[in-house]
């Protein structure tokens, strides 16, 4: 079996290497891919949309449909993870562990007691609990606000520098995941409730599709941001620039929420009580 696989793979590789004879050399400005539509984007994007970052302009304006459905795919992936893994039954693990903060004593509490001990001196800990590392926790606590600030900058400054909704959304999601890894899943869930990130995921996609729907209502094509100019009291070019920004914010929210959603479901096997 393995030999057969190796033969197939090598055959595919040889065929592809043979195909590279017809490919343009690296860095050729006249390669076929660079001759057809990209010159128009490079020449016209500032003039038509007022966005210096051509990638953002093409992503959210010229190829708006494509990006909208990519966002929908990400949303769909989050939904699939939810439906595959999330369990709402009480976990088969009947006990949970609580640690007394002052003495470090750990007590076991039967789940059938229903009421969890709500004393301030006790905190819930994972079954596989490692002692707290002061340096790790402190550094993460200091770093996370700056990571989130940077993520917002990446989303908001996507018009003028490398960045945009996808990148900023992933950084924002990663900051929450860092919180979950450095502390525990419950600490993160107190700040970003399950209901909240699920709703945010849908809201992000809805902002994107909603902007398109507003354009249709105003009598233009779907996702033709020129339609927004009377609403925003600007010229058609600036309306396209603002339309791209609104859409990028939607993408950022959707991507952030999906990353958190997938992580929560994967790390806790859908139980949302004990993470990694």
């Amino acid at each position: 079996m393995k030999k057969l696989a190796l033969i197939i793979v090598i055959l595919t590789g040889i065929l592809l290497m043979y195909a590279t004879v017809d490919f343009p050399p690296w860095g050729d400005p006249n390669s076929p891919a660079s001759r057809h539509v990209s010159p128009r984007y490079i020449k016209k994007s500032v003039e038509e949309t007022g966005v210096p970052n051509i990638v953002t302009a093409v992503l959210a304006d010229y190829r708006g449909y494509d990006t909208m459905f990519e966002t929908t795919v990400i949303f769909g992936a989050g939904v699939v993870c939810f439906f595959l893994l999330r369990v709402f039954k009480r976990s088969p693990r009947k006990e949970s562990l609580y640690r007394h903060l002052l003495t470090g004593l750990v007590i076991r509490v039967r789940e059938d007691m229903q009421e969890e001990p709500d004393l301030e001196e006790f905190e819930r800990i994972d079954t596989l609990w490692t002692p707290y590392d002061l340096i790790l926790k402190t550094v993460c606590r200091i770093m996370i606000p700056f990571i989130q600030l940077f993520a917002l900058y990446v989303i908001a400054h996507g018009h003028h520098s490398p960045g945009g909704g996808f990148q900023g959304g992933v950084i924002l999601g990663a900051s929450f995941i860092l919180l979950a890894i450095s502390h525990d899943l419950r600490t993160m869930l107190r700040r970003m409730k399950e209901k909240l990130h699920t709703v945010l995921c849908a809201v992000g996609v809805m902002i994107y599709a909603g902007v398109g729907a507003v354009c249709v209502l105003l009598g233009f094509n779907f996702l033709d941001y020129k339609a927004l100019s009377p609403l925003l009291h600007t010229t058609a070019v600036m309306a396209r620039s603002y339309g791209i920004f609104i859409v990028e914010v939607g993408v950022g929210i959707a991507v952030m929420a999906t990353m958190i959603w997938i992580y929560n479901n994967l790390s806790s096997e859908g139980r949302y009580d004990e993470g990694l």
Binding site: V9, K43, L84, G164, E269
Partner: protein
């Protein structure tokens, strides 16, 4: 011949990466290793697209502000289109990775193993 190698060896690197990914997907027994192979494959495709958009001596596709609305020299900026396509592809690949891992967790819960041959054996026993 030497010219051919010096101008096209970038494609060979991606093909080698793609072969590694494909081999892992076909021949590895462990499902997580298969998923890793899939990711290597995706990375090869992403690198391939990005290298198509490269132009020698050009910079990133962000129009410099001093240009204003004057004539823009297209050879100064690399092709933005492959970057747009791969930007979405990267995030989508992360999302599909999440789905694949979720499926792997489900399989592990049901069969208590991630080895493909053992899973097939257990499915046959169930029938």
């Amino acid at each position: 011949m030497f010219e051919y190698i010096i101008t096209k060896y970038n494609y060979w690197i991606y093909i080698t990466l793609m072969m590694i990914g494909l081999y892992a997907m076909i021949s590895k027994n462990n499902l997580v290793k298969k998923i890793i192979g899939m990711n290597i494959f995706q990375t090869a495709i992403i690198l391939f697209y990005i290298s198509i958009g490269a132009k020698r001596g050009a910079t990133i596709p962000i129009i410099e502000h001093s240009h204003g609305h004057g004539i823009i020299d297209i050879t100064r900026y690399i092709n933005p289109l492959p970057h747009v396509l791969m930007l979405t592809a990267i995030v989508v690949s992360v999302a599909t990775l999440g789905v694949a891992l979720a499926l792997a967790i489900k399989v592990y819960k049901r069969y208590n193993t991630l080895e493909e041959d053992e899973i097939i054996k257990k499915i046959r026993e169930d029938e």
